[in-house]
């Protein structure tokens, strides 16, 4: 994980936010489309760093610490690669000082 100059690791950064994790993922990615993607905007643009490239050329994603911002599907230019909806009501990110 990347560390910023203040010495806060990305894990510590995400630990400042409350997530009530739902039982089901609200993000799905289409492995076939992602395997053929060369630009991989989601990997760098996601502010929660949820997307990671795997050694075999796929995309691995987490949904547990999602800010529900929508950046991933907006920057993705592959039709239907990322399908994204809101997590179940009452679950997901809970900001206190937004």
């Amino acid at each position: 994980m990347t560390a910023d100059p203040a010495g806060v690791s990305f894990g510590e950064r995400m630990a400042t936010v409350e997530f009530r994790v739902a039982g089901n993922a609200h993000i799905t990615v289409d492995a076939d489309v992602c395997a053929s993607c060369t630009t991989r905007e989601c990997v760098t643009a996601c502010p929660a760093n949820l997307f990671a490239e795997t050694a075999d050329g796929g995309i691995l994603f987490n949904y547990e610490q999602c800010f529900e911002c929508g950046t991933c599907y907006m920057v993705c230019n592959k039709e239907g690669a990322i399908s994204w909806s809101y997590p179940q009501g009452g679950y997901g990110v809970v900001f206190r000082r937004g």
Binding site: T2, D4, P5, A6, V8, F10, E12, R13, M14, T16, V17, R20, T39, E41, T44, A45, C46, P47, A48, N49, F67, E68, C69, G70, T71, M74, V75, S85, Y86, P87, Q88, G89, G90, G92, V93, V94, F95, R96, R97, G98
Partner: protein, 438 residues
Amino acid sequence: MSPLSPAGFDAVVVGAGPAGSAAAFALAKAGRSVVIVERGPYPGSKNVYGGVVYGRILDQIDPEWWQSVPVQRWVVRRSTMVLTSSQSVSVDVRSQAWGGPPHNGMTIYRADFDSWLAGKAVAQGARLVCSTVATGLIRDASGRVCGVSTDRPQGELRAKVVIAADGVNSFLAKSAGLYRDSSASHFTLGVKEVLDMDPEVIESRFGLGGREGLDIEALGATGAIPGGGFLYTNHDSVSVGVVVALDGLAASRRRPEELVASFKAHPSIAPYLRNSTLREYSAHLIPEGGYDTMPDLVADGMLVAGDAAGMTLASGLWLEGVNFAVGAGLAAGRAAAAAIEAGDTTAQGLAGYRRQLEASFVLADHMRLRRAPALVLSDRVQGVYNKVLCDLAEQLFTVDNPAPKPGLLTLARRSMAKHGLKFRHLAKDGLEAARTFR
């Protein structure tokens, strides 16, 4: 068990943000039955903003709103900063008048503010149902929207009017086909850190009194990516972050938290943040496309308000969203109440919404500043003018004795030449700015 009449409610409002709560308030005040469906566990739990809430629109909800609003600080200092990597030029405006009623801007936490505003709607008789996602629209045989489906068991809510105040991603407005174009270029990503700081340190560092606050908006803070930075004070914390164009961010391959870190490390910002600890990290999309990218605001049986309708004003000088959402919500609520009263909730019957918005600041400001987003996010404003201005200011105040002072025009010409800015560019952009901000 359920007291629902077969016809359901007069109105369903999706989203208990500023737009939704204001709409529900106006409907309940007009004596209409209204339900607000909120997907978070409490209003404001999913929401992030970037600086200042301008409260005068709240006069229409509570004439003495400043007595009860959960304010962090009243903004008395408003700074606009232009940055290069090592220079800055600030315009710092201070008015003590903003510190007293009726106030101007305030800083808040959305969890507190949105809950407070939803409470106003509930006190007026609206029903608030939290932890419930509105998953889609229900239409009758004629295609008119007549309710929403939710993710709860038996989760259909029928109503004469649906007000979609479901935020920047507005799946409802998209599913109703109201968006002609919702591509990434109309959106920016706001990334924010809330840093704990002792109130006394905040007051001495930023030159503030007990409940006074500061808001800094910075241009040229995001390197090659179009966008800006912001910093504002809460009671015992400071919020700092950047707003960047989504397509620019994607193309740059830079991580959002790195952009915040580099803004925080700028020599004009870093001293303000010394010895502070991270309390919360957050991110949210902002619809900054302005008037030309707004969706249709009215469909049969449905209105769109707030971020769902792209109503955040990002014009460089003015960056406002919450007040626009409240204004749009109030108009939507009133228009819906009038349409229900008249018994016509088709798009035609609801057309009063748009007329009200055009008569108020919500669409008037957006129409007047419709050229601003493109101008503010243009390459020269983002990457050339900041350097020209900073160099000019630096040269102007550099005393280079025994050489005599050069003339201002000479300095301007020198600075423009250094950064490749031609007079015709200046004339063109000046004309554009004059037309934008006329």
